[in-house]
């Protein structure tokens, strides 16, 4: 793949505007790497961060450093904690596997909203798996991953979040960013936003692998994650405690996903693929209890429940398939 090609188009689309592209950053290393790469390639990105109330010191440190050292603007959106907490509790009670769906959906919707506000034509998803990934969109099991249907759901689908929250929550998804298929389609027709996966600029998952990673970290003064999901206390809990209890070993899952992403093999393994130490997990556990206002027994009971497929809840998948089809026909996606 010619890595310069998308950047030329991006630069051209951004001429006469404040920003060339919008980059979603979590505070982790991968998105930092994508942002730094774009800045060094001469782009003027607007960084976008969604604060769900679980940021770690590592995340805010990295966000600060990225702003100071790369000189790019950062837009943050802070989720109303009470509302977000209610959604998280609903997902816990529902015992579905993908507890991270709300965050991904909110980032997705927010990115489109902010792109529309600043008339930005390119959205680069940090390094998260593609929002429009076909394998998840069609609700097929991830190939080769050996996981059941519905373990990770299609990010743009807000209907599912609402369905889960309607059944298990007490509030509605109100002030949190959200976007329906039709809003998205309208937005695409007007704005013609192009979405690309940050890792594409490095040819796949490479953005965390290169030999110069350590020098990249040192140069900017970033803090490197040690465990999977270190940029958010909730992701730490999700990967290290929730998923294993539901029968998913995240280390294996990630490795399989890498295989599935048609990586040329062999490759050095991406670095944050460890399980945290037990005492770390205990601290994390207590923090989750406090944040979600649960007793240890309640949370343990939620973790004991058998996993439920997302497919048990209403989905807007069909609308999305249709909207995406129309967008493709119109040549705006």
């Amino acid at each position: 793949m010619n890595q310069g090609q998308p950047l030329v188009g991006m630069k051209r689309a951004g001429s006469g505007r404040d920003y060339d592209c919008l980059v979603c950053v979590s505070g982790g290393l991968r998105s930092a790497r994508v942002l730094a790469h774009l800045v060094r390639a001469g782009m003027r990105p607007l960084a976008l961060h969604l604060d769900t109330g679980w940021n770690t010191e590592l995340a805010v440190h990295n966000l600060e450093v990225l702003q100071d050292r790369l000189g790019c603007d950062l837009w943050t959106h802070v989720c109303e904690w009470d509302e977000y907490k209610d959604a998280q509790l609903a997902f816990l009670k529902a015992s579905v596997i993908d507890l991270d769906l709300m965050r991904r959906h909110a980032v997705f919707a927010l990115a489109h909203q902010i792109a529309a506000r600043y008339k930005i034509r390119h959205i680069v998803t940090g390094a998260d798996a593609s929002w429009f990934s076909r394998s998840t969109a069609s609700l097929e099991p991830l190939p080769k991953a050996g996981l059941p249907v519905g373990w990770r759901h299609f990010t743009p689908d807000a209907t599912r979040i609402q369905a889960i929250q309607a059944k298990h929550g007490t509030r509605i998804w109100q002030s949190l960013p959200s976007m329906s298929a039709w809003q998205w389609l309208k937005n695409q027709i007007v704005q013609r936003v192009k979405t690309s996966n940050g890792t594409d600029f490095f040819g796949g998952e490479n953005c965390v692998l290169p030999d110069d990673l350590q020098s990249f970290i040192d140069e900017l003064g970033l803090k490197a994650e040690i465990y999977q999901g270190d940029e958010s206390e909730f992701l730490q809990f999700f990967y290290a405690q929730y998923l294993p209890k539901k029968g998913f070993n995240v280390v294996e899952v990630l490795k399989n996903n890498l295989v599935q992403a048609d990586q040329p093999q062999p490759q050095p393994q991406p670095q944050p693929l460890q399980m945290p130490a037990p005492d770390f997990c205990v601290k994390n556990w207590h923090y989750v209890l406090k944040k979600l206002d649960l007793s240890a027994d309640e949370l343990a009971a939620y973790l004991q429940q058998a996993p439920v497929s997302h497919a048990a809840y209403a989905s807007g998948g069909k609308s999305w398939m249709l909207a995406m089809k129309v967008a493709r026909k119109l040549g705006v996606f």
Partner: protein, 257 residues
């Protein structure tokens, strides 16, 4: 010398919501206070102020459960100062027993003076921080603002500061309402005049934009400490919410240069 430099992040709460005001109005939601305190504690902040600006409007008053949760995040390394609807000695006793290190009392009336004396007699002046909200009058004079009545008092900050000192306050938190959230720099005239009028430490608040403002207020005006909200929360042109605090080495570097 730099070890004693006190830079204090100040968290404004509206119930369980962490907010940031501009000139004491237009509260913008900026997150969950528990997570904020956890981040500041990880950033090795020594002192933290938490001011509940809606406690006096709530029927339930002080949110002890939240304070307990914040204290857990503070651990042993961060000294927490709490302010907001402190009207009874029993509340002060409870807060101190929980582990709050200082109690901030908004002082603009004789009742507040009486409470300050009472607490200072019982627990010592080191736990009492008196808050003076100062706002310029139309005539251009500094006057103490009565937060609850939403009106000016006739008290001048210098005379009232001396009065608070006499009553037993250990420190004065001098907040400039006209500068709050504006990033225009501290009100150096006000701070210098007040610090000269009292012998107890004065903590400057309102308007800090850069760390150099903190340096200036401590070095030039006689303030003992610099407190700030905006400086330690907002970053950049778009006011991104990124809790930040300089490392000890950075503080020493800035103050020595």
């Amino acid at each position: 010398m730099w070890q004693q430099i006190r830079l204090i992040p100040c968290l404004l709460l509206a119930g369980r919501r962490w907010v940031k005001t501009t000139k004491f109005t237009r509260a913008r939601y900026i997150g969950d206070p528990i997570n904020a305190v956890r981040i500041y504690a990880a950033k090795q902040v020594k002192e933290l102020m938490v001011l509940d600006i809606t406690a006096s409007q709530r029927r339930t008053g002080i949110d002890f459960k939240l304070i307990q949760q914040l204290l857990e995040e503070c651990g042993t390394n961060v000294a927490l100062c709490y302010g907001g609807h402190i009207k009874r000695r029993a509340d002060v006793t409870a807060l101190l027993q929980m582990g709050v290190k200082k109690i901030a009392i908004n002082a603009c009336s004789e009742d507040d003076i009486a409470l300050i004396s009472e607490i200072a007699d019982r627990y010592g002046s080191q736990v009492v921080m008196a808050i003076m909200d100062i706002k310029l009058t139309k005539g251009g004079d500094y006057r103490v603002w009565n937060f609850q009545a939403n009106a000016h008092t006739s008290l001048s900050p210098m005379a009232w500061g001396a009065r608070l000192q006499k009553a037993g306050a250990g420190e004065i938190f001098l907040s400039s309402m006209d500068r709050d959230g504006t990033r225009e720099g501290y009100d150096y005239t006000l701070i210098e005049a007040t610090a000269a009028a009292v012998d107890i430490p004065v903590i400057a608040y309102g308007g800090a934009n850069r760390l150099s403002d903190c340096v200036r207020v401590i070095k030039d005006t006689g303030a003992a400490a610099a407190a700030a909200c905006t400086l330690f929360v907002y970053k950049g042109y778009l006011d991104a919410v990124v809790p930040n605090y300089p490392s000890a080495s950075k503080i020493s570097e800035i103050f020595q240069s």
